[in-house]
């Protein structure tokens, strides 16, 4: 499978990464190099193998469904690039 320029732009849009038109050929080449290299996994017979999501030894633990944290909006907002009162601020979304 080989990426064309339109696919590079589509992936960048899905990833919310701005890509200049001038960057597309280089990205296309690098990504195709990586994808060509990982194609080697097609040699492996994976018939009947269950996928492994992680190496954690046990089933995920359960806990009581209760509030255990919170109540400090100033700490939560302390690193915000822009805030208005106790809210994160973003450019206007609805006219």
């Amino acid at each position: 499978m080989s990426l064309d320029p339109a696919t590079v732009r589509r992936i960048a849009a899905l990833a919310r990464l701005h890509v200049d038109d001038a960057e597309v050929p280089r990205l296309q080449e690098e990504l195709n190099g990586i994808l060509g290299w990982i194609e080697q996994l097609n040699e492996v017979d994976v018939t009947g193998i269950e996928p492994l999501a992680g190496a954690a030894a046990n089933a995920l633990p359960m806990r009581e469904d209760v509030v255990t944290d919170g109540g400090y909006p100033d700490a939560v907002l302390a690193n915000a690039p822009e805030r208005i009162g106790a809210f994160f601020a973003v450019p206007k979304v609805v006219e």
Binding site: I11, A15, V19, I34, W37, I38, E50, P51, A57
Partner: protein, 482 residues
């Protein structure tokens, strides 16, 4: 011996005997940082004042007889661990001004045990790299130089390059690191120190900036195997705040270092004998095998047939998880926000494009692609199945042996700017370290010798899941063979 050359074990004894104070120990390391960090760039942030306050508190605790095991021990903290009130950058412009309002569990445990934090160590951006060349805060220099070419500046390895360089150069007695594909073991090998990636779940990931959550392993660096055992004993333990943290008792790793290897069965996996492996690395490996035999271990050939697929599997799974984890950096709640107008979508796209470096952007794109509709089964699901086969290889081989011995890396440290031509060349550095991350089993790099240029080389000991104790026993038996 100068205070910056002591082991953690010797320093802890010296502090208790009153040979020197914790303040003097921290001052000696801060002086070394002031002298050497401009050249090495091992620290992004130095917290001198806070370190001296902590050292003074350690001296009071020592005098009162209430000192904890790491009281007064100066450490470097990889700048991927959130530290309350101290800037935590992940080596990225996008977190360049981020000041966490909380402390990671691992660093909290070290603080509770009395450790002194000297500052935050440099790293590849978001721990993505094998050379420390991708840091937004500049590359790190390896304190070692080639005998034949002393002017060439070498990389310390990565991603925990600042941590390894700081410990090797005597700027810190030990350091924290994280290992997702080899980021503790490869820099330990390149810098001539010890570093262990414990089992997945042994050290909490809570408060560690996430790269690939199913692969991220916090662990320690130090100049000796025993010092790593001391640090891991403090860092490890169950944490309800990390749902993958293992609820298992933490054995006494320091005692395990003195256990010896008599009667152990050590496997030598034939698939690690990579084509074109440097003769010096082959010889070092043979030397390590001979040493374990002399110490009473039985050494047997074993096979891990899916080893060669480890890297390709890793470079699907790790970018996939990264593309998901790094979605949170959007210029809204914390971190860098691009200047200029535009709508919300443009704010996201420009903040991320300007905030992330080239390697991080590349991995986000690869990860997004392998998870996208139509490609998920062909890439991501297939990689998860190969991961299952790699883990099964380890499960089967550990029925017959207690530990495995391999080289840590396919080469000694290389020069800054080398292996940068295409991304895959850099990825090949991790060929021997990636399988243990995929399987979640503990693995340690032990300094074992030097090449013809005088550069350090490491050997890797891989153990059964949650059997770090045997890894320490074998590591201690190999130590000092160079």
């Amino acid at each position: 011996m100068s205070l910056t050359e002591l082991t953690i074990a010797a320093a802890a004894d010296g502090l208790r005997r009153g040979d020197f104070t914790a303040v003097a120990l921290t001052e000696a390391h801060l002086a070394a940082i002031a002298a050497e960090n401009p050249r090495l760039n091992a620290f992004i942030t130095v917290t001198a004042e806070a370190a001296l306050d902590r050292a003074a508190a350690a001296d009071r605790a020592l005098a009162a007889g209430t000192a904890r095991p790491l009281a007064g021990i100066p450490l470097a903290i990889k700048d991927l661990f959130c530290t309350e009130g101290v800037r935590t950058t992940a080596g990225s412009r996008i977190l360049g001004n981020f000041i966490p309002p909380y402390e990671s569990t691992v660093t909290r445990r070290l603080l509770d045990d009395g450790a002194v934090f000297l500052g935050k160590a440099n790293l590849d951006e978001f721990a993505m790299g094998s050379s420390n060349m991708t840091s937004a805060f500049g590359p790190v220099a390896n304190p070692h130089r080639r005998r034949q070419d002393p002017d060439a500046v070498l990389v310390p390895g990565g991603s925990s390059g600042g941590s390894a360089a700081a410990v090797a150069a005597g700027l810190a007695m030990g350091a924290t690191g994280t290992d997702t594909g080899g980021s503790i073991r490869q820099p330990a090998s390149f810098c001539g120190i010890a570093g262990i990636k414990p089992s997945y779940g042994r050290c909490s990931r809570w408060g560690v900036v996430a790269f690939a959550s199913s692969l991220d392993h916090p662990g320690p660096f130090a100049r000796t195997v025993e010092d790593c055992a001391i640090l891991l004993g403090s860092m490890a333990g169950h944490d309800p705040k990390d749902s993958t943290s293992a609820d298992l008792p933490v054995p006494d790793y320091r005692t395990a270092c003195r256990r010896g290897v008599k009667g152990l069965r050590i496997g030598v996996p034939r698939e690690y004998r990579a084509e074109g492996m440097a003769g010096e690395i082959e010889a070092l490996w043979a030397h390590g095998i001979a040493r374990l035999r002399e110490a009473g271990a039985e050494v047997v050939d074993v096979s891990l047939p899916h080893t060669k697929y480890g890297l390709a599997t890793y470079y699907i799974i790790a970018p996939a998880e990264a593309s998901s984890n790094l979605a949170r950096y959007d210029g809204v709640r914390f971190g860098f926000r691009a200047a200029g107008g535009g709508d919300l979508r443009e704010l996201y796209e420009h903040s991320r494009a300007e905030g992330f470096g080239a390697e991080v952007r590349r991995r986000i794109l690869i990860g997004t692609y392998v998870l996208s509709a139509g490609y998920y089964d062909a890439y991501y699901l297939r990689a998860q199945k190969v991961r299952a086969l790699i883990k099964r290889d380890f499960d089967e081989v550990f029925r017959g042996v207690d530990a495995l011995l391999t080289p840590t890396a396919p080469s000694a440290a290389f020069g800054q700017g080398e292996k940068m031509d295409d991304p895959v060349t850099m990825y090949l550095n991790d060929v021997f370290t990636v399988p243990a991350d995929l399987a979640g089993v503990p693995a340690m790099s032990v300094p074992a010798g030097v090449d013809a240029d005088g550069l350090p080389l490491g050997l890797q000991v891989i153990g059964r899941g949650f059997d770090e104790a045997t890894v320490f026993a074998v590591g201690a038996a190999l130590e000092g063979m160079g």
